[in-house]
Structures are given as structure tokens and as C-alpha cells.
Symmetry: C2
Subunit: 116 residues, 2 copies
């Protein structure tokens, strides 16, 4: 549903030059939803976090595994994990004192589908 670049469901109006407002190929609301998802991954630290989790056992990791390799403060890592979680890309599970973060494959599929 998120697909932006594939010729989508919306009708393609004849492109008239200058003056006629054509049907928008992509509605503002859908563009904003898609942009919100892309914003979540348009950050080097968050890309590194996703890659680190992907390469961990069971595609999950606790915060303590993630802070050191990236070299940023613990609150900063926590912040980025929150952004990714709120975007639906990570699932958070608390086990005892530890918080485990795992990838959400379906949401990554959404991401992959945007540009076909």
C-alpha cells in the first residue's frame, strides 16, 4: 500500500503544461505516512542499530549490546531505539532488567516495497 514508485492505483491524468492542476499521483496524507517511515531510517545511527540487531542471535539484542559498538551515550541509543520502535520497525520486550529489541520483518517489507 505504501508503494510510491510503482505506477499505482491512482489514475494518470494527461500531463498538461503549466496552468492546469492535474490529479496528484500521490496524496499528501500517503506521502506523509511514507515519509514518516523513511525518516525513521534516514539516520546513520539508526541504520547501524538495525544492522547490529539483524546480525545478533535471533535478530534481537539488548541495549547493553548496542551502546558500546556505536559509541554514543546510552540515552541517545535509547532515544533512537524508541524512534525505530514507534515507527513499527522494532519490537520491544522486557525480560527482567533487560530490554530486548527485535526486528519486525513485515515492517521492513513495507520499507522495501516503497521503491518497488
Amino acid at each position: 500500500m505504501l508503494t510510491v514508485m510503482s505506477t499505482a492505483t491512482s489514475s494518470v491524468s494527461a500531463p498538461a503544461c503549466c496552468g492546469i492542476t492535474p490529479e496528484l499521483a500521490l496524496s499528501r496524507e500517503e506521502a506523509e505516512r511514507t515519509a514518516a517511515l523513511l525518516k525513521a531510517v534516514a539516520d546513520p545511527t539508526r541504520l547501524q542499530l538495525l544492522a547490529l540487531i539483524r546480525d545478533s542471535e535471533g535478530a534481537e539484542a539488548c541495549v547493553c549490546d548496542l551502546t558500546a559498538p556505536i559509541g554514543l551515550s546510552q540515552p541517545t541509543i535509547s532515544h533512537h531505539l524508541k524512534v525505530l520502535t514507534e515507527a513499527g520497525l522494532l519490537r520491544r520486550e522486557k525480560r527482567g532488567t533487560w530490554a530486548w529489541f527485535a526486528l519486525v520483518p513485515e515492517r521492513l517489507d513495507d520499507l522495501a516495497a516503497i521503491f518497488r
Copy 2:
């Protein structure tokens, strides 16, 4: 080469818990390059611009075709087109008074490849 989510070229070290700094699955430089490309498309207006151009004849459009449907000022549209062009996603060609912008399919492929 941009692929972030596919198990990549880098070796996957055994994920030790807390204290041992593992090999980073994704280098900072590569993460920054990828994030820069994603930033270019992580904006609703720029997504709409890409979709509008894609649905135009020959997958190209002049600025005058793009300003009205999106409903933002001409300088703002010009700014966004510059961002997309500098990211390599659009190619700019001047014909007389008009500036034509066309998609760069290879660069869109890079985008699609990031999340496989």
C-alpha cells in the same frame, strides 16, 4: 553495495553480551552515505515530486508542471528539486527557459536495494 538489511559482506562476529565491542555490521561511513540518500526521500513533498515526475510523459517534467499541484511556493519546489538532484535521484536539463527534471532509474534501484 548500499544494502543494509541483507546479510552483507562483513563478517558476523559472535554476539557477546555487554562489555565486548563486536565488529560493526555497518561502518559509520557507509551508514552515513545510505542515510544521506534516504534523507533525500524522507520528505512528503519530495515523494510527491518523484511520483509526479514518474507519471509525466517520458518520466520528466518542468518546474511549472510541479509547482501548482503541490501547492507550495516556487522557491520551495526549486529547493526540493535541488535536494533530489544532488542526491542523484533526478537529472536536470535546461531547454530554453524551461528546466526539465527526469528520474534516474539506477539511483532509484540503489534505494530499492537498501532493504533488499
